[in-house]
C-alpha cells in the first residue's frame, strides 16, 4: 500500500542534518574502503569457488570449497585469489571446477605444479567460468520478477519465522504460514551456525532454535514456497541469514536458489557474534555485492542493539548505524530499493508514553530512508510469559507499523519469551496483524503530529544525536568506534574475535571475476539497473 518513495513529512526534520549524516556515513565508509578492497577472506574465496560450481562434501563431511581453499592456503596460492588458480587448473586439466575440487580432495590433482598462461587467457577463461553462475542468478532474478507480477502481498509485508530445526518440519510450518497470510518466511538458523567457518551440506533435520542454512535446505524451502505461492496467487518471499563467518558463501547460495531477503549486516557479526571486524568488513562487501546483483533485499540488524542497550537511550545508535549500513550497501552496489534497514520497537512498555517514542523512531527511520524497504522488528526483550499481554504488545507494534508506513513487518509472537513459534502462534500473529492493518490501513494518511510535540521533539533529538555520533565516529574511524563499544554497548578490538586468520591481503595479481561481473558499476548489472533506477522494485 505504500507508494514509493514514502512521501509524508510529519516530523519537521531538518534536511540539512540528514544530508550531513549521509555525508558523514559516506566518509566513515570511505575510510574503510581501501582496507576492504585490498583484502579477501577464506569465505570470500569459498564463495567464489561455489559460484564457479564447486559444491559437495568429502567423506568426512568437509565441504569441497573449504578443502580447496585450505589446499590453496597451504600451498601459498590464496593471495592470488582462488579463481586464478582454479582457472589455471581448468585450462591445464580441461576439467570442470567441480572435478578439479574432487581431484584435489582425492589428492589426484595438485595445484602447485600448474603452468602459467597469458593474463588475458586467464582473465577471459575465469570470466567464462563465472558466467554460468551469473546467468543463473540473473535468471532467478527474472523468475522472481515474473512471479511477483503474478501477485504479491501489500506492505507492510507480513514476515514470520520458522525455526523447528528440521527443514521438513520447517516446510510444513512455512506452507501453513503462507496460507495463514504470511508474505515472507524466514528460516531461522541453528544457534551457532554463524560461528562455523564452513557451510553445512545437504538437507538437515537437526538444529537448535533454527535450521542450518544449507543450499539443499534453501532449495527445498524455495520449491515449497513457490508451490504454495502459486496456489495462493501470491509470491512468498524467502529469507535467510548471510551473516557470520560464511556470509559471502551463503549469499552465493541464496542468489543461486532465489532467496529474496537476506539478513546481511555490515557490523552485526562483529558486535553480536564476536567475529573479527576485518574479516566482517571484507566478507560483507562481497556478500552484499552478490545480494545486490541478485535483487535480494538485505536486512540489517540494528534491532539487535536494543536487545542489549536501552531503547530510550540508544535509539540514535540505531539510526547512526542505519546510515553506515546504507553506505556500505551502496559501496557494494546495493540500491536503496534493496536496503532493508532494520530497527525495532523495544522500549519498555512501562515507560509512560512509550508508544509515542516508538512512533517517533519508526517515523524517523521511514522519513530518512524513503526509498528503502525498511524492516521493523517487534517487541522481544520486554515480552514475558504472559502471552495475552504479549499479544497486545505486538498489536501496538502492528499499529505503529501501519501508521508509519513500514515496509517489512516482522511479526511479534505472543510466545516470544517462551519458545520459537508454534504453528498456531504464527497464525494468531498473522491474524492480528491483518486485523490491525485492515482497520488502520489509511490512518497514517489521516493524522499529523503536533508541531514541537512529544513525537516531533523525540525524533528531532534522535536525529541530532545520531548526527553527533556519526561526527564522533568520523573523527575516530569506525574501527575505533567499535573498540569503544559505541554500538549496543559492546566493545570489540581490531585483532580480536573469530576469523581473523581467514583474512589476507590480496596479492598483486589477485583475481576474482565476480567483482567485475556483479559489482556496482559493472557489466552484469545492466539488465536490471534501468528498472531499479526508475524506482520500481522487482525485489
Amino acid at each position: 500500500m505504500l507508494t514509493y518513495p514514502y512521501q509524508e513529512r510529519k516530523l519537521n526534520l531538518n534536511p540539512a542534518l540528514i544530508d550531513e549524516a549521509r555525508t558523514l556515513a559516506k566518509e566513515i565508509v570511505a575510510e574503510v574502503k581501501p582496507f576492504i578492497i585490498s583484502h579477501s577472506t577464506v569465505s570470500v574465496e569459498r564463495a567464489v569457488l561455489r559460484l564457479l560450481g564447486i559444491d559437495g562434501v568429502n567423506s568426512e563431511g568437509i565441504p569441497l570449497p573449504n578443502l580447496v581453499v585450505e589446499h590453496l592456503q597451504e600451498e601459498g596460492l590464496l593471495a592470488e585469489g582462488s579463481a586464478r588458480t582454479l582457472t589455471r587448473a581448468f585450462i591445464h586439466y580441461g576439467k570442470s571446477p567441480q572435478s578439479l575440487a574432487e581431484g584435489i580432495e582425492q589428492g589426484t590433482i595438485r595445484l602447485t605444479e600448474l603452468p602459467d598462461f597469458p593474463e588475458e587467457v586467464i582473465e577471459n577463461t575465469a570470466r567464462a567460468l563465472a558466467l554460468p553462475a551469473v546467468a543463473k542468478i540473473r535468471a532467478q532474478r527474472q523468475a522472481r520478477r515474473a512471479m511477483l507480477a503474478q501477485g504479491e502481498g501489500i506492505e507492510p509485508y507480513l514476515y514470520v519465522i520458522v525455526a523447528t530445526g528440521d527443514i521438513y518440519e520447517d516446510v510444513v510450518q512455512a506452507r501453513a504460514a503462507a496460507r495463514q497470510g504470511a508474505d515472507i518466511i524466514a528460516v531461522i538458523r541453528s544457534t551457532g551456525q554463524s560461528l562455523l567457518d564452513y557451510v553445512p551440506y545437504g538437507p538437515t533435520t537437526e538444529g537448535f532454535g533454527g535450521t542450518y542454512a544449507t543450499q539443499a535446505n534453501f532449495r527445498i524451502m524455495r520449491a515449497a514456497l513457490d508451490e504454495v505461492g502459486k496456489e495462493l496467487g501470491r509470491y512468498i518471499r524467502l529469507t535467510n541469514y548471510a551473516s557470520g563467518l560464511c556470509m559471502p558463501e551463503i549469499a552465493a547460495m541464496g542468489a543461486l536458489e532465489r532467496l529474496d531477503v537476506m539478513l546481511n549486516d555490515s557490523m552485526y557479526g562483529i558486535i553480536f557474534r564476536d567475529i573479527n571486524m576485518q574479516r566482517t568488513f571484507v566478507d560483507q562487501y562481497f556478500s552484499r555485492m552478490i545480494n545486490g546483483f541478485a535483487g535480494i533485499i538485505i536486512n540489517t540488524g540494528e534491532d539487535n542493539y536494543l536487545t542489549t542497550a536501552d531503547a530510550m537511550e540508544a535509539a540514535h545508535t540505531v539510526l547512526a548505524s542505519n546510515f553506515i549500513n546504507a553506505e556500505f550497501a551502496f559501496l557494494s552496489g546495493v540500491p536503496e530499493e534493496q536496503q532493508g534497514l532494520g530497527h525495532a520497537m523495544e522500549i519498555n512498555p512501562d515507560v509512560p508514553d512509550a508508544f509515542l517514542y516508538e512512533m517517533a523512531q519508526a517515523q524517523l527511520v521511514r522519513e530518512v530512508f524513503p526509498r528503502s524497504p525498511i524492516k521493523y522488528m517487534p517487541p522481544t526483550k520486554h515480552m514475558t510469559g504472559n502471552i495475552f499481554r504479549g499479544h497486545i504488545q505486538d498489536a501496538l507494534f502492528n499499529v505503529a507499523s501501519v501508521l508509519t508506513g513500514q515496509s517489512i513487518h516482522l511479526l511479534g509472537m505472543l510466545t516470544e519469551a517462551i519458545h520459537t513459534p508454534l504453528i498456531q502462534d504464527r497464525a494468531l500473529s498473522l491474524e492480528a496483524a491483518r486485523l490491525v492493518f485492515g482497520v488502520l490501513r489509511h490512518m497514517g494518511e489521516e493524522i499529523t503530529f503536533k508541531a514541537e510535540g512529544r513525537i516531533q521533539k523525540r525524533a528531532v533529538e534522535t536525529l541530532e544525536k545520531a548526527v553527533g555520533m556519526l561526527r564522533d565516529i568520523e573523527k575516530i574511524g569506525l574501527f575505533m568506534a567499535l573498540e569503544r563499544g559505541m554500538f549496543a554497548d559492546i566493545s570489540r578490538s581490531l585483532e580480536g574475535g573469530r576469523g581473523l586468520d581467514g583474512v589476507f591481503a590480496k596479492g598483486a595479481d589477485y583475481l576474482n571475476p565476480f567483482i567485475r561481473l556483479l559489482g556496482a558499476e559493472t557489466e552484469g548489472r545492466e539488465a536490471f539497473e534501468s528498472s531499479a533506477m526508475g524506482g520500481e522494485r522487482d525485489v
Binding site: 525455526a163 518440519e169 502471552i387 495475552f388 508454534l422 504453528i423
Partner: protein, 248 residues
Amino acid sequence: MSEVNLKAVRPYGDTLDDGIVQLSFTLPIPFGEEAKEAAKRWALQSGFQEPNISHAQDMGEGFSFFVVYARSRVTVDFTVIEVPQLTQVRLEKRQIELRIREEVRRKLVVVGACIESDAHTVGIDAIMNMKGYNGHKGLESYHEVEAYNLGAQVSCEDLLAKAVSVSADAILISQVVTQKDIHLRNLTRMVEILELEGLRERFLLICGGPRLSYELAKELGYDAGFGTGTYAEDVAGFVLEAVLRQRI
C-alpha cells in the same frame, strides 16, 4: 515431517507428536512459589508432561493465574470419528422457492422466537427477518414462506399457541444465553410442553444459537439444531426436505 498417524492424533506445536498444549487457569490459592508448584502438580495430575509455568500472576484476594505450556500424551483416533450432521446440501434461496412452489405446492409456515428469559434476537432475526445476515436474506423475504418472528422473551406457551393458530410447519427457537445451562432447561421445557399437549409430532422443532449443534439438538429431542454461521437457506432447506419426507 513424518506421516500423521490418524489412529493416534495428538496435539502439534512445531514437531509431529510433540503434544504441545497451552493452558490457562486460575487456582484459588495465594500467589507465590507454592502456587506455581500447585499449578505444575495440577498439570501433572491432569496427565500432562513437562508442564512449563510460563506465567504466574496474582489475581488478588487469594487467587493466582497461570499460563502453562505442557505436553500431552493423549491421542484420539481420528479414523473412527463420525459427526451426525445434516446431510442435506445447502440449497440456494431461488432453488428452495422453486421447489416449495413445485413440490410442496403451498407456502411453508414457520414461527420463531427467543424463548423464556432469552432476549438475544439478533440470531433469530438473522434467520427470519427480511434483512437476513451477511447478505443472505431471511425467511420473511421468501415468497413461499410465511414467517412469524415473535421476538424476544416469548414463553413456550405463547410460542406454541402461535404455532397452532397459524398451523405452522416448523417452530424455530433461539437460545443464546447458556449460563448455568439455562438454554438446556428452556429447550427441554419446550419439548416437554409439546409432548404434554401431544403435539410433538405435529411440528418440526428446530433450535439454534452459538452453542447449539445438530448433535446436541438431536439429543434434546429436536429435529435439528443450527450453530454459528447459519443462514436462512439452511433452515428453509431443512424444513422443505422434512416436509417433503413427511408426505411420502
